[in-house]
Symmetry: C2
Subunit: 169 residues, 2 copies
């Protein structure tokens, strides 16, 4: 566990990218992203999630219709829908998403997290059994030449993000 | 967005570490970890979380008593309790946790995610207002010389983690 300022900077720089090249994500790259998901830690090693990989444009359209700001899923060559296999531990789904997006970034692949607000519809589109949740997805693709991070509003100041010993506000 | 095989390997290698050196985490290192949290993406840039930094051992004991497998919080020199400021978006809390643990790793700091099963008790211990959630924490410290990843049961095979186009099982 040697310190690496460069790796630290890359982690800090991850931003959602919403414009992609039309080329498909190469299979070894995609597998490497999924492998980073598979090895993400989970509470008690439950691994209570799986991923639906969607390349087919009409299937991506159907999934995109299940949320309100889902255009990156239509534009990207591939979308990963995260399946939360039980009702608990959405926390772990967030962990696996962040790990896959960072791994993608390390491979030169842009990503954008997507909320499927009508997740029950998404569940049905994907043939996922009742009781499992499909609220989150990730659009993946090589970044378009003109792609930059979306407009973003900066971040809260440290003083409102960090509390010492007890919460004060 | 240049590919970095080194970053990819570090992401894949991240494991929870539960044994730490007794020294405190140096202030610049701790701030860098928190900065990685602060810059983590959130749904609509809501940034709907904050962090309580706990160094005081008796306060760490009180928090540790709010979960069932919390010894790393007692042993580590510092614990971060993640505050989910609204009832929604536990997904984003998972993202910020993963980002901070990876950033810590890039700085040579070991971490372990912790579930506070009795999160309402933790909320009261920390003086967090009702309606906010404090279910997750991270223990942080420089790894003990003998520290290795905890026993772990490997991972599901790719075939049960990945589905193509639709969910099948």
């Amino acid at each position: 566990m040697e310190p690496s300022p460069e790796l630290y900077r890359m982690i800090l720089r991850l931003r959602a990218i919403r414009e992609y090249k039309p080329e498909p994500v190469e299979e070894p790259d995609l597998l490497a992203v999924l492998e980073a998901g598979r090895w993400t830690g989970t509470s008690k090693n439950r691994q209570d999630w799986s991923v639906v990989v969607i390349r087919d444009p009409s299937q991506r359209d159907l999934v995109a219709a299940c949320g309100d700001f889902t255009d990156p899923i239509r534009r990207a060559p591939v979308a990963l829908v995260l399946v939360q296999e039980s009702q608990h531990y959405e926390f772990d789904v967030g962990r696996v998403a962040q790990n896959m997006m960072l791994a993608a970034s390390a491979l030169g692949i842009a990503s954008c997290p997507i909320t499927l607000h009508r997740s029950e519809e998404a569940r049905q589109v994907l043939g996922v059994p009742a009781g499992k949740k499909t609220r989150y997805a990730i659009a993946l693709g090589y970044p378009a030449d003109h792609a930059g991070p979306a407009r973003r509003g900066g971040r809260k100041p440290v003083t409102s993000f960090v509390h010492q010993e007890r919460y004060q506000r």
